[in-house]
């Protein structure tokens, strides 16, 4: 073999190495040099093929891991959605408004009143007032440990909104300690009807009911034809 022929041959093989490397770099992980000759250069060619093998393995491994991570992530997101849903359900549950007597709604408030809960509580109550046409609602806060200015503010707003819908609110269950605290805070709750216990509030509500009934009866008596019209 002439020297010149040899050099041309080697140049060709180097070109091929370059092509293969370019192909791999472009993403073709199946490209290999697969040299058939046995000489000094073939050692390098084999080494490059091995390197590409390693690289391919690693990339495949990484893809697999990435897919696993993505799967796990979507699972976690799914679980998170469930948790949020459950939390919302719980919020709804924790402000149950019920009609306990003709014309009387009761909303027992338990636990801490943060702004989100108060919002839901208020909406529930107002909806129920419209739905049932009740004109008396009792907010029992026996289960609320701390009444600060924000809670008081929320209560005032709820009472005012209910009033706009034609319902009177009674707040019951203010403990002596909380009563003193409210006074020291300086908040004026005198525009709200309050009763010490839920029982007191119920008795008040029923009396109020009876009075309305009496007035209805009276007007019926004064103008017996009213019903006919």
């Amino acid at each position: 073999m002439s020297e010149k022929h040899n050099i041309t041959n080697i140049k060709k093989r180097i070109d091929r190495i370059e092509d293969i490397l370019a192909a791999v770099a472009a993403g073709d992980l199946d490209a290999r040099i697969n040299s058939e000759t046995e000489d000094d250069l073939s050692g390098i060619e084999a080494a490059i093929d091995l390197l590409i093998d390693d690289l391919t393995d690693e990339l495949k491994q990484r893809e697999k891991m990435q897919k696993e991570v993505e799967d796990k992530l979507s699972k976690i997101q799914e679980q998170q959605k469930t948790i949020v849903q459950q939390q919302e359900d719980l919020l709804e549950l924790s402000s149950p408004v019920s009609k306990v007597w003709d014309n009387v709604l009761i909303l027992p408030v338990i636990g801490t009143l943060d702004s989100q809960r108060t919002q839901i509580m208020m909406e529930n109550l107002l909806e129920k007032i419209v739905e049932t046409g009740c004109t008396i609602s009792i907010l029992d806060i026996t289960g609320v440990p701390t009444v600060d200015t924000q809670v008081a503010n929320h209560l005032l707003k709820t009472v005012t909104s209910a009033r706009l819908l034609g319902a009177e609110c009674i707040i019951s269950g203010i403990s002596p300690a909380i009563a003193q605290t409210i006074v020291h805070l300086g908040i004026d709750l005198s525009s709200i009807k309050t009763k010490a216990t839920l029982q007191d509030a119920m008795i008040f509500a029923m009396r109020q009911n009876k009075r309305t009934d009496d007035i209805k009866l009276q007007s019926l008596y004064i103008n017996p034809n009213e019903k006919e019209e």
């Binding site: 702004s115 009444v147 200015t149 924000q150 605290t181 020291h184 805070l185 300086g186 908040i187």
Partner: protein, 138 residues
């Protein structure tokens, strides 16, 4: 501001979410009870703390509360510090007056908290932050 190296730190909590307010409040009530304060005093100090924490959360985006027990003027006391790195309060006298609010509140938080405790110290610097220390005798 009143301070003493010999106070025993009972607890501390970082305030980041509204839920942290609830937890910090429970912490305060727990220690007030542990120090054998009566139900009225427990409620008063917890409510005062609630006001300070809500302010930190609303106006400074968060802060930190530290609870100590120790001697102040030779009397046993529960000492609570609430500090934030928020915008600070420009006019302290105005902020401390009944009915003043820069937002949608009632404006009774700060003056009300002051009336609920035995000692109330406030320091504030615009763009640096606000620190309030309240003291309740045991």
């Amino acid at each position: 501001m009143t301070s003493d190296k010999n106070w025993e730190e009972l607890g501390r909590k970082n305030l980041e979410s509204e839920n942290d307010i609830v937890m910090a409040r429970q912490l305060v009530r727990h220690y007030a009870k542990q120090l054998r304060m009566g139900i009225v005093d427990q409620t008063r100090v917890t409510t005062a703390v609630s006001e300070l924490l809500r302010n930190m959360y609303n106006y400074a985006g968060g802060g930190e509360i530290k609870i100590f027990s120790g001697l102040v003027d030779e009397k046993d006391a529960l000492i609570i510090t609430c500090s934030d790195s928020g915008p600070g309060i420009e006019d302290l006298e105005l902020a401390m007056s009944d009915g003043y609010t820069s937002g949608m509140g009632m404006g009774y938080g700060l003056p009300g908290a002051k009336r609920l405790v035995d000692r109330f110290e406030i320091q504030s610097k615009v763009n640096v932050g606000t620190t309030v220390r309240i003291i309740k005798w045991r």
